[in-house]
């Protein structure tokens, strides 16, 4: 599902003394459908950078990233938007939403974007929020006023609302209590069962053990 070859990324900071910050070089690995791979390595080794490159959020200098047969490097914005709509999901650590939009709508949106009926999407969103123990009294409010843990669970509900064939997870279980953590791990497992290919960053060792089939140490791709 994911095929990455000879990928490298250097930041050129023109406004800060023309600094050049090489982050990763020659990244190469592949992930099969139904497989969950953990990116490991110290803080600053480029784990999040690799996820962002795959999502098209960072621009790669060289190499190739193929997701379900679609090439990301040097793809035009429409191709990436279409890939994000139908194929590739990304659960970040931080929720970024417009003010005033109710939580149910935030969660249902990826499904609606992917062409699902709004009523069905809303019902599914409510099921997910219930499953992740977001109090029902909050569902019609904007998640911007929620606690950190609640926001993260809303973000996870949103990320899992639509059954993407490929998922990127950036610390999906960080700052969750044990019960909610187990729910998220069950959701990841269910996604694998239906054939979803997953690349994730899990600082939580036990979580990594529970769902990941393999680990890739990103520090081996450190740029010289």
């Amino acid at each position: 599902m994911f095929e990455i070859a000879q990928l490298s990324k250097t930041f050129h900071l023109h406004t800060q003394q023309q600094a050049e910050i090489p982050v990763v070089a020659n990244v190469g690995f592949a992930v099969q459908p139904g497989e969950c791979v953990a990116l490991t390595g110290e803080s600053g080794s480029g784990k999040s950078t690799v996820l962002r490159l795959i999502y098209g959020n960072y621009l790669a200098q060289t190499g190739s990233i193929s997701v379900g047969g679609t090439e990301i490097v040097a793809a035009d914005p429409r191709t990436i938007l279409e890939l994000r709509r139908t194929t590739l999901g990304y659960v970040t650590q931080f929720l970024r939403v417009l003010p005033r939009v109710p939580t149910t709508r935030v969660v249902a949106e990826p499904m609606i974007q992917a062409g699902h009926d709004a009523t069905a999407a809303d019902k599914h969103a409510r099921d997910l929020l219930r499953r992740l123990r977001i109090p029902e009294t909050l569902w019609d409010l904007s998640p911007l006023t929620f606690s950190g843990g609640e926001q993260q669970r809303v973000n996870i509900a949103r990320g899992f609302a639509y059954d993407y064939p490929a998922l990127l997870l950036d610390e999906p279980t960080a700052s969750l209590d044990a019960t909610n953590r187990q729910t998220v791990l069950d959701m990841i497992d269910a996604a694998k069962q239906r054939g979803c290919a997953i690349i994730g960053i899990f600082h939580d060792h036990a979580a990594r053990e529970a769902v990941c089939d393999r680990e890739i140490d990103v520090s081996q791709f450190a740029a010289a």
Binding site: F11, H12, L13, H14, T15, R52, G56, N57, Y58, L59, P77, R78, I80, L81, E82, L98, P99, R100, V101
Partner: protein
């Protein structure tokens, strides 16, 4: 994915004597896409928008639009009446200052109804009905339908301008700093409203703004302008999170964090 664009701009240039407006701008916009154009004052973004919308005649280049789904047609080669019809029916233009887009001496309902009458509506009851439902849609109290916009707040005037523009069901909307000059709380409400309208109606939008947060929240793609030139284009979140051009890096790094 649709193959042919809805709107296509090629090598567009406009200068005012020796003063450069915009130079060699080219891009395509597809149906349902939202393009943000950013840059500081004087970078040529408003000149560009005015050339695109047919308010200014460019010196060079072409602006093409798919009028009836059969392919791109040059809007510059159109006759004046044809272009006006296009601007009234398929396009809309939201001004930064609502006073430029509204008729201040006419009631709120009249402002919306006038656009409908321009495209041939004649039944008073229906026009009033449409005006009322659009006021509701942009979250204006329908009880204010007979009031003049001069009695409205800035945010209300801007929402009225949006209703007036969208009532005729345009496919492409040009927006010039639609949230400029509004209080932050009013901006958030307007952005949320714009986003849901754009999504529900499947509109294509070209939005000029200097506010990067507006681009992040609304736009799919963005274009950065400096001294009349487009210095960077791309996916909105990519340009904002990993800007390549020195000027874009300066813009993005200058945003204050709250």
């Amino acid at each position: 994915m649709q193959k042919t664009p809805l709107f296509s701009v090629s090598d567009l240039s406009k200068s005012y004597g020796a003063q450069l407006g915009c130079r060699d701008v080219s891009f395509d916009l597809h149906s349902g896409e939202i393009m943000g154009i950013v840059g500081e004052s004087g970078s040529g973004k408003s000149t560009l928008l005015n050339c695109l919308a047919g308010h200014l005649a460019p010196d060079r280049g072409d602006v093409c639009f798919d009028v009836d789904g059969t392919g791109l047609v040059s809007t510059l080669a159109m006759s004046e009446p044809e272009r006006r019809l296009l601007a009234r029916t398929q396009w809309a233009y939201v001004h930064q200052n609502p006073r430029d887009g509204l008729r201040m001496s006419v009631s709120a309902g009249g402002n919306i109804g006038e656009r409908l009458m321009n495209v041939g509506a004649r039944h008073y009851g229906n026009i009033r009905q449409d005006a009322s439902s659009w006021m509701d849609r942009v979250e204006l109290s329908t009880g204010r339908i007979d009031d003049r916009p001069a009695t409205f707040s800035g945010g209300m005037q801007q929402r009225l301008q949006i209703a007036r523009n969208l009532v005729t069901g345009p496919r492409l909307v040009f927006m010039d700093e639609p949230t400029g000059g509004l209080d932050v709380s009013v901006q958030a409400r307007l952005l949320d409203l714009l986003r849901s309208l754009v999504q529900d109606l499947g509109l294509s939008v070209i939005i000029v703004t200097h506010d990067l947060a507006v681009v992040r929240m609304l736009a799919h793609r963005m274009m950065v302008m400096q001294h009349g030139h487009v210095v960077e284009t791309g996916l909105a979140d990519q340009v904002l999170d990993d800007p390549q051009h020195p000027y874009t890096q300066l813009l993005v790094s200058s945003v204050l964090q709250v």
